[in-house]
């Protein structure tokens, strides 16, 4: 049944035929789930291996604007959850996707988002196996929110944990920092800035698989999303009971991102990333990790940015500045606000 009109109305959320038509035309016709049943039934050999564990992670995605240079909310929704599985050491297998749609949203927009999701899911080798749609009134959502939940399997013996990080371990990132945050800030238009910066949004499952294979001693990894690299490092340092020191000169930053940060008085360490992770490996495996990362497209820019140190009385994360001075790299307080003074 073809959909009447080109925008979502409340009727599309009413549980009736209009809803079913929307779901069929926009979602299931693309995702092709095993069946129309609300519940996916899954089995994988990996699951039954003795010692294997199930990994479960969820994220709601609320990016504004929903389409931006380098991606859209669908791409983030797949990559973000795939990455959360991958950085935990799991092999991403299955995803659920729940959509909250604002009345008046263009159906064409939904179709574009769903198309991106399909592409990214295929790239990541995961299946979208079940889903949900809700429609809310105008002004009760901002176009579309997507919540993806990911299920993966952690192979027997793999145990990536922030707690495992030891003094001396090396911290590595896979590429430039802050592109996503900067691209979104520009795309939002509030600050009337224009740039060619693209979101770094990318799935990191293959990268993690490569590193895990190459580095038996891999301690942990974390994608540096909201709160940026600074938050990821602080969380790891806190869990591991270590200090972390990074080198300002080692941080990979795009010129445009630096420019935007200078204009708005922002710190790129706190800008969100959607395809950038930081991982810790024992020093002796650092070269192997770098090589493994650089073997996949998402790891071309892999560099060592710092290392773990014994924890003292002082701050958890510090940065050696250009001049050898030290500054604290604390958790962000609230959200980073553009400032002029």
């Amino acid at each position: 049944m073809a959909l009447r009109g080109d925008k979502v109305t409340l009727a599309h959320g009413g549980g009736g035929r209009a809803m079913r038509d929307l779901i069929e035309e926009v979602f299931t016709s693309v995702f092709e789930p095993e069946s129309m049943e609300d519940q996916a039934r899954l089995m994988s050999g990996a699951l039954t291996e003795p010692g294997a564990r199930l990994a479960l992670t969820t994220d709601s995605f609320v990016v504004d604007p929903v389409e931006f240079p380098g991606g859209d909310i669908g791409k983030i929704a797949i990559c973000g959850t795939v990455n959360d599985l991958a950085v935990g050491g799991a092999t991403p297998l299955w995803l659920s996707a729940a959509f909250i749609i604002e009345e008046g949203t263009e159906i064409a927009l939904l179709k574009r988002i769903v198309a991106t999701m399909k592409v990214e899911a295929e790239k990541a080798g995961v299946k979208i196996v079940t889903g949900d749609t809700k429609v809310v009134g105008r002004g009760s959502a901002d176009k579309v929110f997507v919540t993806t939940t990911g299920v993966g399997v952690i192979p027997p013996g793999r145990d990536l944990r922030a707690e495992a990080v030891q003094p001396g371990d090396v911290a590595i990132v896979n590429g430039v920092l802050g592109d996503h945050g900067a691209a979104i800030l520009a795309a939002r238009g509030d600050m009337a800035l224009s740039t060619d910066i693209q979101s770094d949004c990318a799935g990191l499952g293959h990268l993690m698989a490569a590193v895990a294979a190459a580095c038996p001693g891999l301690r942990c990894a974390r994608d540096a999303t909201r709160g940026g690299l600074a938050s990821a490092l602080n969380e790891i340092a806190e869990s591991a009971d270590v200090a972390v020191e990074i080198e300002e000169t080692a941080l990979p930053l795009r010129t445009e991102v630096k420019g935007m940060c200078e204009i708005l008085g922002l710190d790129p360490l706190y800008l969100a990333n959607e395809g950038t992770l930081v991982l810790f490996v024992p020093e002796e495996e650092a070269e192997a990790a770098l090589a493994a990362m650089r073997s996949v497209p998402e790891g071309q820019g892999a560099v060592v940015i710092g290392r773990a140190k014994p924890k003292g009385q002082g701050p958890l994360v510090t940065m050696r500045t250009l001049f050898g001075g030290a500054r604290i790299v604390d958790m962000l307080v609230g959200e980073q606000l553009p400032r002029i003074c």
Binding site: M191, T195, I197, M260, E262, R339
Partner: protein, 96 residues
């Protein structure tokens, strides 16, 4: 206070309102150029200005910048020479 950053004027966008596009490391923003407008408006294209809250507040004086840098560079080189000498002295000592 008073975050200000250097940028280059690349285009006049609204002559009447004295607006121009400025480029800061590849990030572009429309700014008001009233404070730096002394002659023909289009002569500003290519000029480096100091930008604060969307206004070009000052023209950057290239000569003054060069002079300051020159002095700093001199210092830096002197320092290097000093260090090299210190190294040399140390090496000599070690050999001794």
């Amino acid at each position: 206070m008073c975050l200000g950053i250097p940028g280059q004027i690349i285009e006049i966008t609204d002559e009447a309102r004295l607006m121009a596009l400025a480029d800061v490391s590849g990030v572009r923003r429309e700014v008001n150029i009233a404070p730096v407008l002394t002659g023909e408006i289009h002569d500003l294209i290519g000029a480096w200005v100091l930008i604060h809250v969307g206004f070009a507040m000052a023209l950057i004086d290239e000569d003054e910048a060069a002079a300051t840098l020159e002095a700093l560079k001199g210092l830096g080189e002197a320092q290097e020479t000093l260090e090299a000498m210190a190294e040399g002295a140390k090496a000599l000592e070690a050999r001794a």
